[in-house]
């Protein structure tokens, strides 16, 4: 358990956050400029906050009231940077083992072979970072942080510098990190898809303040959490793979309802989380027929929220879980949507991005 309280003022920007990160992956979620990196740097010890307290498993890393502030090298926190920051003069193997030199003798040591296997970087060991691809560099950076025997891992938008294909390459490794190593992770991101795949807990930052924190499914389907923009809002469904069909679709079971989406790599029987973005959902009062969309979920309207703009956010209780739909106020009136009324949510299969599908959270 990591607990963080940080106050820091710089160049007219005031950061004032407090949150706790339980085991699993805690995602610090917010737009760029919301203060995420400052928080992470304060946890790592790269930045000394004006005031605050950072404690990890009862170990106080920083407490400005008592004048305690450990330097980064004494915090035992592995940091995966956005740009990798591998040492160019060392081989991949030397990079990986760098932290082990400085780890205390009695620290539980992650086996080099196990980490190398987990990250699939065996063939790279004798190469130098200069010749690695962006995705390979990030995998080595993850391994390097893990092998320093850290009490915690920080990851500051580790995928931001990568293209979509490389992101898809790295995400599963963070899932494995979450599910296999048991090292708690504080992960900075502004991508709802990454949150959906990785987060056990989400802490939402806005303009330097924590506005919301809680379990991933709860936060993501909360329409009031708007810092990442309306398009980021979406529901998170816990499902199980039932079959892969010959026409390239995979079938999932979500609370007894069949969902179809483009082929995913997970095997039948595996649990996966699926994020359904609110703006991809269509609502219908009657059970739709003669429609090309494959996914139709019956439900009851829990809440209709309207704001200043033309949109309305409808949350729908379905057997698969809560679904969020973003429609226009005009449609909501035309359909006579009422809280408590019944309704069907329609989702095109191809609207479910592959990046929004991932393994289950360890703590869920």
């Amino acid at each position: 358990m990591l607990s963080v309280e940080v106050k820091h003022a710089r160049d007219g920007f005031n950061l004032d956050v407090a949150f706790e990160a339980p085991p699993g992956i805690t995602v610090l979620f917010g737009r760029s400029g919301s203060g995420k990196t400052t928080v992470v740097n304060a946890v790592a010890g790269l930045l000394r906050p004006d005031a605050g307290r950072v404690a990890l498993k009862h170990r106080v890393l920083c407490d400005t009231k008592n004048g305690v502030c450990l330097p980064p090298n004494r915090r035992r926190i592995g940091y995966v940077f956005q740009e990798g920051r591998l040492f160019p003069h060392l081989t991949v193997r030397q990079n990986l083992l760098f932290g082990r030199w400085f780890a205390p003798r009695n620290a539980p040591r992650a086996e080099l072979e196990r980490i190398v296997d987990m990250l699939g970087i065996g063939p790279l060991l004798d190469r130098r970072p200069g010749g690695l691809s962006g995705g390979e560099k990030q995998r080595v950076a993850i391994g390097r942080a893990l092998l320093s025997a850290p009490d915690m891992i920080l990851a500051d938008e580790p995928l931001a510098a990568l293209d979509e294909a490389r992101k898809a390459e790295i995400l599963p490794y963070f899932e494995r990190l979450r599910d296999e190593t048991g090292v708690p992770v504080l992960y900075v991101s502004h991508s709802a898809a990454e949150v959906a795949r990785l987060a056990t807990t989400v802490v939402v930052l806005q303009d330097g303040k924590t506005v919301k924190q809680g379990p991933a499914a709860e936060i993501l389907s909360d329409p009031t959490v708007m810092p990442a923009g309306v398009r980021a809002v979406g529901a998170l469904l816990e499902t199980r793979v039932t079959a892969h069909h010959a026409d390239g679709l995979s079938e999932l079971d979500a609370g007894g309802i069949a969902l179809f989406l483009p082929r995913i790599p997970q095997a039948p029987g595996e649990r996966v989380r699926v994020r359904i973005a609110a703006h991809e959902v269509i609502l219908s009062r009657q059970k739709p027929t003669g429609l090309s969309a494959l996914n139709i979920l019956p439900g009851t309207i829990e809440q209709i929220r309207t704001g200043e703009g033309p949109g309305a956010m409808v949350s729908l209780a379905t057997p698969a879980g809560r679904i969020l739909a973003r429609v226009t106020k005009r449609s909501a009136q035309a359909l006579d949507l009422q809280e408590g009324g019944s309704c069907y949510a329609v989702v095109k299969s191809v609207a479910i991005a592959p990046g929004d599908v991932g393994g289950p959270a360890a703590a869920s």
Binding site: P72, N73, F87, P88, H89, W101, F102, R128, G130
Partner: protein, 230 residues
Amino acid sequence: MEGLGPEEWQAVALSLRVSFWATLIALPLALLIAFALARWAFPGKQLLNGLVHLPLILPPVVTGYLLLLTFGTQGPVGGLLQDFGIVLAFRWTGAALAAAIMGFPLMVRAIRLSIEAVDPKLEQAAATLGASRLWVFLTVTLPLILPGLIAGAILAFAKAMGEFGATITFVSNIPGQTQTLPSAIYAFLQTPGGEGPATRLVLISIAIAMAALLLSELLARKAAKRIGGA
């Protein structure tokens, strides 16, 4: 061409010895000052920077004279050193000091540039992996600035081999004692019939300078390959 006479050999050997020690002694101090100038903020930083560069701008004779005033047996530092049995004026050690001071700005510049090229983010990364400041310096900064360190050292060595004005002013031109290669060439040229030995020393001087340059290129390329290579 005839071989070198004993006096000429002496000059070559002395120059190599003077330059070697001048470079070796100056290197740690140059590293410290380059690091301070590149990374630290402190009062008097510009003054220090100016002081370091002074020998580059002053006439070498002036530098040599100032050395004589300071480190001569009558000088404040020289007098003190004499009490410990160390005499610099008119000794080869004095020639080494003069050469070191003349090459110092070149050395500091090369090292400073290479330190400024090191991404502090890499050093931060090393710190998060548990390395203390000293270890960060030894395992990350130092290897990364090695090409600059080598370039600075070789530049200073070459400068020391050619140093004339400050040396002759501070330690004079005593064959076998303080007569370095350039002083010897100068002395031969002042003597009727000395053109022969002078030419031989000039050729040797050119050969040593070229060898130093080639060596520095080679080492720098090797180091760069190590850092950036696949």
